[in-house]
Symmetry: C2
Subunit: 211 residues, 2 copies
């Protein structure tokens, strides 16, 4: 009944289900029994396919990163020769797509957020493959938009951008209470409004646009 698709291999079903459950419960509270049950697989299948629980988690994280980045690349698919404001919005929009999820199952961003709060040894991999590229891209853009500031100030500005992108995933539960109207919007709408707002707020914050 809870088997997602008969045609997928046991291994794939385990990855899919495990991702959802790790995201919902956290690593420790997620149990292999529940994962196998929902995947319609035998209890021993996790150990067979992924050695142990840690192996499963690592593989879930790795495949999630891989697929998220190939669908929404760090630069948002915007050309390097486009105006900096467009490139900035590209990075922001792509970031939001990855964290808030659009057509990807929505637990993926949640997995990342959880990993940040509760590092599991897989954190260096995430930093290397996701955080670092985004960080460096933004640093270039900020240098272009606010060349008069010193290095630390520019770095702080980059953090302000990333902070805004992260927040709406991170505090979803609170936002629903404080502003119910927001939860009623479609994901598409939310991402659209957010990337617009964050880009504008940031451009003003950097002092490049008045308005």
């Amino acid at each position: 009944m809870s088997v997602s698709s008969e045609s997928e291999s046991t291994r794939d079903r385990l990855l899919e289900v495990a991702g959802r459950i790790f995201a919902r419960r956290g690593f420790k509270a997620a149990t292999i029994r529940e994962i196998c049950e929902q995947a319609g697989a035998n209890l021993a299948s996790v150990n067979y396919h992924f050695r142990d629980k840690d192996g499963l988690y690592a593989e879930v994280l790795a495949s999630t990163i891989r697929r998220a980045l190939e669908r929404y690349p760090a630069d948002g698919g915007v050309s390097r020769r486009a105006p900096v404001t467009e490139r900035l919005e590209g990075v922001i929009r792509s970031f939001l797509q990855r964290t808030l999820g659009l057509d990807e199952p929505e637990w993926k961003g949640c997995l990342m957020a959880r990993e940040l709060a509760e590092p599991s040894g897989a954190l260096p991999k995430i930093i290397q493959e996701v955080a670092r590229p985004v960080h460096d891209l933004l640093l270039e853009m900020v240098a272009e938009l606010a060349p008069e500031r010193n290095e630390e100030e520019r770095w702080l500005c980059v953090q302000s951008i990333i902070a805004q992108c992260h927040f709406f995933r991170h505090a979803e539960a609170v936002l629903e209470v404080l502003r119910p109207q927001w939860a009623e919007l479609s994901k598409q709408d939310r991402i659209e409004r957010l990337s617009g707002h964050i880009t504008q707020f940031t451009l003003r914050g950097l002092g490049g646009v008045h308005g």
Copy 2:
């Protein structure tokens, strides 16, 4: 050896130690045995003083909120009649003090961050007592600073402020890797630079200050 202070009551030591451990490991992964051991208390003492593990967690959260708010009130102790820029910086600085911790044990903000990602039934209490007041305060200030924007835009700006304040606690582990120099600063210094930066970035972002 790991007993914090002999003069405190068992109940208080349990609260203190439990806070640290819940923050570090999360609710599920934290064990009563480890808590009692570090508190120099008997295994049964949690059940005696707090009924069960949930009772302990709820009490930890409640007392943490209470003490954090009485030391760092939502308005940062700035007079209601002070200029809005000063009031804004007050809210931001106080927020950072609560999350990044100054003289309070540093796990307290971490507890909150964890609660946001992994609500435990205690979330409504946090919203009611912490998030809501800060949210409303900021909403007033933004309305004052950017009266020309519509209600949703102002709300988004409030979220941008809160996002920046939260982020530096939330992504501590990543920041340490991406910018080791930052980790070398004292807490005092970090909070000082952050509240300055966030206030400036926000004031520009709101379009109230140019340059």
